[in-house]
C-alpha cells in the first residue's frame, strides 16, 4: 500500500515536471519569436580572406582601426595593414537602400551588426563610405593577401569536396 502511494506520488511529480518542461519550452519559443533577428552582414565585394581571421576581426576591428588612425594621422605612418579604405575596397557593396543601388557603400556590411548591437559610432559621418576611384591605392594590402585569399578559396573547395 505504501509502495502504491509512492508510485502515485512519483507519477504526479513526473506529470508536473513534464508539464513544467513543456510550459517553459513554449515560453522560450515565444521569447525567441519576439527577438531581434540576428544580423546578416553583406558578403565581401571581393576577396575570400580578410587581413585577420573573421572572429578576430569581429572582436577587434575597432581597436585595429583606432590604433592605426593615430599612427597614420599623428606620426605619418602609412601603408599598414588595418586601413579603413581597404575595408571599403573589399566590403563596400551595392544595396537597393543606398542611392538606389548605384554606389558601393559599407552600409550593408557595417550597419547590420552595429544596429543590432546598438553601436552608436559611425565612421561614415565624416569618412567617405563609398567606393571611389583610387580608394584602394590609398594604402596597400598585406603582402600575402592574395595568397591567403587563394588558400582560403582552395580550403573551401577542399572542404566542400570532402563533404560530398
Amino acid at each position: 500500500m505504501r509502495s502504491a502511494s509512492r508510485i502515485l506520488s512519483l507519477t504526479i511529480l513526473g506529470f508536473v515536471l513534464i508539464a513544467f518542461g513543456i510550459g517553459s519550452g513554449l515560453m522560450a519559443t515565444s521569447a525567441q519569436a519576439g527577438e531581434v533577428p540576428l544580423p546578416k552582414p553583406a558578403k565581401a565585394f571581393k576577396g575570400e580572406q580578410c587581413v585577420e581571421p573573421t572572429d578576430v576581426m569581429r572582436r577587434n576591428h575597432f581597436e585595429f582601426l583606432k590604433h592605426q588612425r593615430d599612427e597614420t594621422l599623428r606620426e605619418g605612418i602609412r601603408g599598414n595593414k588595418y586601413s579603413l579604405n581597404e575595408c571599403i575596397d573589399c566590403h563596400a557593396v551595392t544595396s537597393p537602400d543606398v542611392a538606389g543601388g548605384k554606389v558601393r557603400t559599407l552600409k550593408p556590411f557595417c550597419a547590420e551588426c552595429h544596429s543590432y548591437a546598438a553601436v552608436s559610432i559611425d565612421c561614415f559621418q565624416c569618412h567617405s563610405g563609398a567606393a571611389q576611384p583610387g580608394i584602394g591605392s590609398q594604402s596597400a594590402l598585406p603582402a600575402d593577401h592574395a595568397d591567403k585569399a587563394l588558400v582560403a578559396a582552395l580550403e573551401k573547395h577542399l572542404n566542400t569536396g570532402a563533404k560530398q
Binding site: R74, G76, A140, L158, A162
Partner: protein, 245 residues
Amino acid sequence: MNAVDTSRRNLLKGGAAAAIVTLAPGVTLQTVQAAVTGPATNAKRWGMLIDANAPEGVWDLAVDACKAEQGWGKDEKDANPATDPQWIRKVSIKDPKTGAKASLPVMCQHCANPPCVDVCPTGASMKREDGIVLVDKHICIGCRYCMMACPYSCRSFVHEDVHGQRPHMPRGKGTVESCTMCVHRVDKGQKPACVEALNKAGSNAIMFGDLNDPNSEISRAVSKYVTQRIRADLGVEPGVHYRGI
C-alpha cells in the same frame, strides 16, 4: 578531414608564407610587397615659397585645385558665405602710398610654434614632426579656440552637413579644418595639389619642398631671394614664405 587533405593544406599554407606561390610547374603568382612608409621625422621641414608677383590668375587655379583635391567648397549653396570653409583664399593687397597692388594666396602657414596647438584643449590641433600642422578631427570638439588663436585666420569651422568627402580627407560638421599641405600626397612623395596645378599650367608661383635640405629648390630660392613671412614679428616661425610683399 583525412591525412592526405591535411598535408595538402599544410603544403599550401607553407607556400603562402613566401611572396611567390607556385600554382603549377612554370606558373607562379607573385604578389606586390606592401610599402609601409613613415613615420614622419623632424629631419624634414616642409615649406612653401609663394611669389606674390606672379600673374593674379594663377591663384584661382590653386584655389580650385585645393577644392577638387580636398572636397571642400561643394556645399556652398547651403552655407552662409560668411562662415563657409576656406582652406586657401586669394587675398588682394594694395600699398596706399604708392598704389602698388598684389594678390597672394593665404592658407595655413604651418608654423613651427603654432598658436592653434597651444590653445587646443583636447590635443586635436597638432603639429607633425615634419612641421605640418593638422587637426585630428577624431578628437576635435569644435570649440574653435584655434580659430581665434590663429593670426592668419586660416582655420574654418564646418557649420553645415558635408557630402561627397574624398577618400583621403574625411570632413564632418562640428569640426575645425584647414590646409593640410596635402599631407596624403606629401607622404607618397608627391607635391601638394595647388603646387602641381600651377606646375601643370607652367607656373612656379608656389614652390614646395624641404626647408631643412640645403640643396632643395626651395632652400636655394629662400637663400637667394629676400623673402618675408606674414607677421614674422609674432615669432610663430611660419613654414610658408612670400616673395614680393
